[in-house]
């Protein structure tokens, strides 16, 4: 009994953090009057492939420039996992995509979370892209940094030197509107949390701006998955202590336990599909610097990979 107590003492802090962060209830907003007429897939249904599921990954600048409950999602990635075939598809949604929000009206898609939390972000993606989303994971800036540090860093082949003279110095700086210089050199390397964040967040030095950044985000996601394969359950207390409060998900604890061994079984890089909605799927010149979607091309693509 005392051994059980010792075990509980070891895992309780992690369980407490996990209980707070996981199993978040999603409140889908009731459709706005206009969405009845514009929704492309009024009631997306769960996937017909047994066991397949879709998760919406959300990443936010949650520094002190923003109110805690009203952050934009700078990163939105749809991930579909098919356990039976060990296939993974990642689709990055441009943050500036001009869409109809589930809360009403048209705006950049990164505002959906700001207006209605994860429920609004999910509902917006579901109605506009015609997909069914099973769960979401939200992580803040500091959360990503802490997560990567907690797992001991990641190995990435950075595609090119990422140079930025005006990178936001908003994580550890006292003045969140400040700038700093960033130089993440190219090639295979071991990145800690801060440098991984700089690599996925900088966009000024990329001709493709947010699209280029999306490709780098997918690289880092894959590297985190690769590192997660080395973890043991005994690592959970340290990791949860590190990222406490910086991560929220609707995935319950029991499902997390099922997913961990599953993640380790996805080994074939050829079965991991990465999609970024570059032109002609999207094009510039939208209102307020937004990007216009070409739904005629996007929806068939989504139907193909997120059936």
């Amino acid at each position: 009994m005392s051994s059980v107590a010792g075990g509980l003492a070891y895992f309780v802090p992690a369980a407490q953090t996990a209980l707070e962060a996981t199993g978040q209830v999603i409140q889908l907003p009731s459709p706005s009057p206009t969405s009845i007429f514009t929704s492309r897939s009024p009631s997306p249904s769960p996937s017909s492939v047994p066991g397949a599921f879709t998760v919406l990954l959300l990443g936010s600048d949650d520094d002190s420039k923003f109110s805690a409950d009203h952050v934009l999602t700078q990163s939105m990635i749809l991930v579909r996992v098919v356990p039976s075939t060990k296939e993974v598809t990642m689709l990055s949604i441009p943050r500036d995509l001009y869409v109809h929000l589930s809360t009403g009206g048209f705006a950049k898609i990164d505002g959906a979370y700001s207006y209605g939390g994860p429920g609004a972000a999910i509902a917006t993606v579901q109605q506009d892209f015609g997909v069914h989303i099973d769960d979401y994971i939200w992580v803040g800036l500091l959360g990503l940094v802490k997560l990567i540090d907690a797992i001991g860093g990641i190995d990435v082949v950075t595609s090119n030197p990422v140079m930025d003279d005006y990178y936001p110095a908003d994580i550890y700086s006292g003045w969140p509107y400040d700038y700093e210089r960033v130089a993440v050199l190219a090639g295979p390397q071991h990145l800690d949390g801060i440098h991984a964040m700089q690599y996925v967040r900088s966009r000024h030095g990329d001709l493709q701006s947010d699209f280029g950044r999306s490709q780098r985000q997918q690289q880092v996601l894959m590297a985190i998955r690769q590192k997660a394969k080395q973890l043991s359950p005994a690592d959970l207390p340290a990791i949860s202590a590190a990222i406490g409060g910086e991560l929220k998900t609707s995935i319950g604890l029991s499902k997390v336990a099922q997913l961990l061994p599953l993640a380790a079984s996805f080994d074939n890089p050829d079965q991991i599909r990465q999609i970024v909605l570059l032109p002609p799927y999207t094009h510039g010149d939208g209102p307020d610097g937004s990007i216009n979607p070409n739904w005629n091309l996007i929806l068939p693509l989504v139907r193909q990979y997120f059936p």
Binding site: G152, S159, V162, Q230
Partner: protein, 374 residues
């Protein structure tokens, strides 16, 4: 009776405390250690059974420079942003980069880490609060005569478009006396890793947008300042980090084929073009291949375990240049042999020579080239 009950209770309490604590501590020991920080090379010398590499190798870890000589590491500089060491042609000193959060400069240091001279001055004037007024210098290399410093330098740059270009300047002069050698592509990160060659000019890595709009790297060669130069590798190969063999006839590089892989590749070099590629290591994330000065092999950095920090590895020459076959047996003494000669039995195939891991928990800076003094 009362005393024995008390003793029993106290004993049980102690047992429970010990069991509980032991379980807690035991679970702690079951952590994967993935987050354990790398050790200083001086604290974790190469494994006892590791081979001793020839000469002295210079590496960077956590902003400090180290030398590895006769199997022992020595820390040369404090952890203060030091990286990318490169030797003088005569091996007397090194040039290296000292990087801060806003800028980086090239310094001359001696082989014991003492700073002899600051070569560049890339910090913006104190009164200028524009972060873009600072500059980066990376990948310093000296010409064969030791008088010209080659480097990647972020000039010119235009607002958000910060790209590195290849510059050459007098080692005893200033950047103002330098010459811009290459024209970097906008919004790519630019041109890096200059490697001055005997024929004049430099080989370097150029970043550009490939046919599929992805950013790719290629080895380029230019023989004249401000000339376009030409590509030595294709976009699809996605190669970078050139290193010239001691005799100048081969180039080692890493090629990533636009994927999260990094193959150690070599090719012959005739001073103008690269020959057929030969992949030597394809199952590791290889960085910074460096030829041994005595031609005995290639050192490189790669993770010691999957997704781990980068360690020092050694690939013996036998892996890419097998020893010449032994001469055919001489005629049997005692006069001419009549009749058919016995067919020699083929030698058993030699086992493939694999790379050897030299360090185990050091975590070297994989973006810092290695310097090797013979």
């Amino acid at each position: 009776m009362m005393i024995s009950r008390f003793l029993l209770g106290a004993g049980l309490a102690v047992v429970m405390l010990v069991c509980g604590t032991t379980t807690y501590v035991y679970l702690g020991t079951k952590q994967s250690k993935v987050a354990a920080p790398a050790q200083k090379p001086t604290a974790a010398t190469p494994r006892a059974q590791a081979l001793t590499l020839p000469g002295t190798l210079y590496l960077a870890q956590s902003g400090a420079l180290y030398s590895l000589s006769a199997g022992r590491f020595h820390q040369l500089t404090p952890e203060a942003g030091w990286t990318q060491p490169s030797l003088y042609p005569d091996g007397s000193n090194l040039v290296a980069v000292k990087q801060t959060r806003a800028y980086s400069d090239v310094y001359v240091i001696n082989r014991f880490g003492t700073v002899l001279r600051q070569v560049t001055s890339n910090a913006a004037p104190a009164r200028n609060k524009d972060t873009g007024a600072n500059h980066w210098s990376f990948y310093p290399r000296l010409s064969a005569d030791g008088t010209t410093l080659w480097m990647a330098y972020d000039q010119p740059k235009y607002g958000y478009d910060v790209v590195l270009s290849i510059w050459a300047m007098p080692l005893g002069g200033t950047v103002r006396q330098g010459r811009l050698w290459t024209s970097a592509n906008d919004y790519t990160g630019g041109d890096v890793q200059p490697l001055p060659v005997r024929q004049g000019g430099a080989m370097y890595t150029k970043y550009s947008y490939g046919p599929d709009t992805k950013l790719i790297s290629q080895l380029w060669y230019t023989s004249r300042a401000a000339s376009a130069g030409r590509a030595l590798t294709t976009a699809a190969e996605d190669c970078r980090t050139p290193a010239l063999s001691p005799d100048g006839t081969q180039v080692a590089m890493i090629c990533t084929y636009e994927k999260q892989v990094s193959y150690l590749t070599i090719a012959s070099w005739n001073g103008s073009t690269l020959g057929a590629r030969r992949t030597l290591v394809s199952d590791q994330l290889v960085a910074q291949p460096t030829w041994a000065p005595d031609g005995s092999g290639i050192a490189f950095l790669a993770p010691g375990v999957a997704a781990g920090e980068f360690q020092l590895w050694w690939l013996p020459k036998a892996a890419y240049s097998p020893p010449a076959p032994s001469p055919s047996p001489s005629p049997t003494p005692g006069g001419p042999h009549n009749g058919p000669l016995p067919s020699p039995s083929p030698p058993p195939p030699a086992p493939p020579v694999k790379a050897i891991q030299v360090t185990t928990n050091d975590g070297f800076d994989a973006t810092s080239p290695l310097a090797w003094l013979g």
